[in-house]
């Protein structure tokens, strides 16, 4: 029986979605799966809405994920969680950062950032997990580690052990940031602040 899981990582250009997808890809590769990761480069990166597709299983064909196909969506920002919701499979899981980032139409005042998105998601019966990854990243030592905190939250929902993930994190980030990123990962994994050691 063929097996396949589809994970989408969505956010805002500059939030580090690419690094998160790369670490995820490395973990899946180390577990012996067929893996495909699809990235966005160029024009769309500059503060725009960005999406990365990660698919794994016995044999993956298409590298992209379409509407109704994602088993999990990991959203780095609330509005992006809602924007990409139609891509979630019925019964799929949505993990979202509670952080809000105003897009340019909101900054210039031609559009409004919708209120109560998390409550609306819950009301719509979405299987939802939320966390304040920005606060956790700050506690871990850098707001830039938001991506690794969120990766930790995703990892908790998957079947591999924590050490496999932590190894991949250590291999992927620069050595001088390894300890901070490991701490950030652990906070995301446990969903709470962890003391520095």
């Amino acid at each position: 029986m063929s097996f396949q899981k589809n994970i989408m990582i969505v956010g805002v250009g500059g939030q580090g979605t690419l690094l998160a997808s790369r670490i995820l890809g490395e973990v899946l590769l180390s577990q012996g799966y067929d893996v495909k990761v699809s990235e966005v480069h160029g024009m769309s990166q500059r503060g725009g809405s960005v999406v990365t597709y990660v698919k794994y299983g016995s044999a993956v064909a298409s590298p992209i994920i379409d509407k109704g196909e994602a088993d999990v969506i990991l959203a780095f920002e609330q509005l992006e969680a809602v924007r990409w919701l139609p891509y979630l499979k019925l019964g799929g899981k949505l993990i979202t950062n509670t952080q809000r980032m105003n897009p340019m139409p909101v900054i210039t005042g031609v559009a409004e950032y919708p209120e109560d998105l998390l409550a609306l998601l819950e009301g719509a019966g979405v299987d939802l997990l939320t966390l304040d990854a920005l606060a956790l990243a700050e506690q871990a030592g850098s707001v830039k580690a938001v991506n690794v905190v969120l990766l930790g939250a995703l990892a908790r929902q998957m079947e591999f052990g924590e050490e496999i993930w932590q190894d991949a994190v250590s291999r992927t980030v620069k050595p001088q940031f390894a300890a901070m990123n490991r701490r950030a990962f652990e906070m995301g994994y446990r969903g709470q602040s962890v003391a520095a050691n």
Binding site: D34, M43, R46, G68, V82
Partner: protein, 579 residues
């Protein structure tokens, strides 16, 4: 060696290494850039960024004729620039193998048009391969060199955004040692003037016939039979979409070579299958060929000519099925890409907005200046067109010169802006050209160019002086401004527009994302001084927002450029260069 998860472009670069390629010359362009960037990491390959795709292809052809396996990579529109050498390289053929990668962008993720490069293969009569994943990017690159030498032809490798920018598994192999092939003088082959070219054209037609025979038996064109009720003819990424949508409920004719097409295989497959669909992005290239063969196929009667295909589009078109999906009933504001906080282009565009000028635009990060709230671009056509089209505008009515400018980046100016500037000087239009010199090729992800003084490998080299080039082609009025200084930038524009001669303004400040650029501490908005006039919001900086009725600055995003502070008449924004 163990399997690695490589981008299609990285795998193509791996293919260059393993094939014994010794020279690569390219111009960056999404989604092709990483091929040459990654190839530059192999010491064995002499790599370079050329000023444009035409120069790159000519350099690669020269190296091939000299006897080294050579490569040239570009995006789809780059092949328009390189089309001149391409068509004649088809006649000369090669000495050592020559592979030309061209990356199409269906859906226009990062491009100004959606042209289909397969037409070039047929028009120039050059064999074209199309890989479907990273492993094939590597394999087809290597095969390309073999076919190039076997058939004495350049070979085109057609990529697309989804193949170039997807990672999949590749098992690395050893590099083969491709020996230098001795150059033999052969004017009948390499000097393309009428008497010689007439004879070469006959050989080109014979070569295509030989390739047609090869294509029918080549392993890269293969039929996979499952259920024969539905048959899908496909190549590249569309093979993956079709497999994902239909699995074993259909049979597939997977084409690795899209020019020339294998007529016998197409006929055989259509005879075996009930209903046959051609799944191809963009034009009905394979479909038309099938129809010319008298084959009954579905194609663009069910699938769009516009945008990229996907598994769900194929599922819908072929099976009539769609997956259920949920959406919230709330209006979701768009999130278009924006100029970065601290981007040096922002100050320049703000100054242009104040002058209310017509802006002849070009290709690069600064094309984002066309979007709200700056919206300071009237045209954007192709690389270099800002300069040449401004000249045309000012010739159409010399009064236009008083309120029109061209904006072009340093790399784009090197690519094909210089020739337009020569035309301005030579044919005497009072045009004002602004070169946005941010000391890097920005949009494609920071590549060096002839103005930066560094090679692709980061080695110091000669740097083109923009000032001297402009003067040398006949522009006597050249000024340099710092676009962080709004007043100086406005003054430079006003004076240039008033001058009775052509002018170049070099708006010079390095891209804020460059590693060597030291940014300043974030600015602070003083709520007690802020009157809520929103003047600062006019520059469209993502670090600025309004909270309640006061300006606020996001310390995580602000790099202290100080441009917003210059707009505040109440000194409510503190810190940065303005202090």
């Amino acid at each position: 060696m163990s399997k690695a998860l490589l981008l299609g472009n990285e795998a193509a670069a791996r293919g260059l290494y393993e094939a014994g390629c010794r020279f690569a010359s390219s111009y960056p362009g999404t989604p092709s850039t990483e091929i040459t960037e990654e190839a530059a990491k192999f010491e064995e390959i002499e790599c370079e960024w050329a000023p444009n795709e035409k120069v790159a292809l000519e350099a690669a052809l020269g190296a091939s004729i000299a006897g080294a396996r050579s490569f040239c990579g570009m995006k789809h529109v780059g092949l328009n620039v390189a089309a001149d050498p391409l068509f004649t390289a088809s006649y000369t053929g090669v000495n050592a193998g020559l592979v030309i990668a061209v990356a199409d962008d269906p859906g226009m993720h990062s491009s100004q048009n959606e042209q289909d490069s397969r037409h070039y293969a047929r028009a120039a009569k050059i064999l074209m391969l199309e890989p479907a994943d990273s492993a094939e990017c590597r394999d087809f690159m290597k095969l390309g060199f073999l076919l190039s030498e076997q058939f004495d032809t350049p070979v085109l490798l057609r990529l697309s955004t989804r193949v170039s920018h997807s990672r999949s598994l590749v098992e690395p192999e050893q590099r083969v040692s491709a020996e230098e092939k001795p150059y033999r003088k052969d004017s009948g082959k390499y000097v393309m003037m009428p008497a010689m070219a007439q004879k070469r054209h006959v050989l080109v037609e014979q070569r295509i016939e030989a390739q047609r025979t090869w294509a029918n038996s080549a392993g890269i064109n293969r039929a996979e039979y499952h259920s024969k009720k539905i048959g899908v003819i496909c190549a590249g990424i569309n093979y993956q979409y079709a497999k994902e949508a239909l699995r074993e409920n259909a049979s597939y004719l997977k084409l690795g070579c899209v020019y020339p097409l294998p007529d016998a295989l197409l006929k055989e497959f259509c005879a075996q299958c009930g209903e046959v669909f051609v799944a191809e992005d963009l034009d009905d290239y394979i479909e038309q060929h099938c129809r010319a063969l008298g084959l009954r196929v579905h194609g663009k009667d069910r699938l769009p000519l516009v945008g990229e295909l996907s598994q769900s589009l194929l599922r819908k078109a072929i099976l009539g099925e769609a997956l259920p999906a949920k959406a919230l009933e709330v209006p979701i504001p768009g999130r278009p890409p924006v100029l970065c906080p601290g981007c040096p282009h922002r100050g320049l565009f703000f100054a242009l907005k104040k002058r209310k000028v017509f802006v002849s635009g070009d290709i690069g990060c600064y094309t984002l200046g066309a979007l709200a709230p700056l919206q300071m671009m009237d045209t954007c056509i192709c690389m270099g067109a800002s300069v040449s089209a401004l000249h045309g505008r000012n010739k159409a009515n010399p009064q236009n010169a008083k309120n029109s400018v061209a904006v072009i980046g340093d790399s784009t100016f090197m690519h094909s802006g210089i020739t337009g500037l020569i035309n301005i000087a030579y044919n005497k239009s009072n045009s004002v050209v602004v070169i946005l010199d941010n000391s890097i090729t920005g949009m494609t992800g920071h590549q060096q160019n002839p103005t930066t003084g560094l090679t692709i490998k980061g080695d110091p080299t000669a740097a083109v002086s923009l000032e001297k080039v402009c003067e040398a082609v006949g522009i006597s009025r050249v000024t340099v401004v710092d676009p962080y200084d709004l007043q100086a930038t406005e003054d430079a524009l006003r004076e240039a527009l008033a001058a009775e001669k052509p002018s170049v303004i070099i708006s010079r400040r390095p891209c804020v994302l460059l590693k060597y650029v030291k940014t300043k501490p974030a600015l602070v908005a003083d709520a007690s001084a802020c009157t809520g006039c929103k003047q600062c919001m006019r520059i469209g900086c993502p670090a600025l927002s309004f909270q309640g009725n006061k300006a606020a600055i996001d310390a995580a995003q602000c790099v202290g450029c100080g441009v917003c502070a210059q707009l505040c008449r109440f000194s409510a924004i503190k810190g940065g260069l303005a202090q």
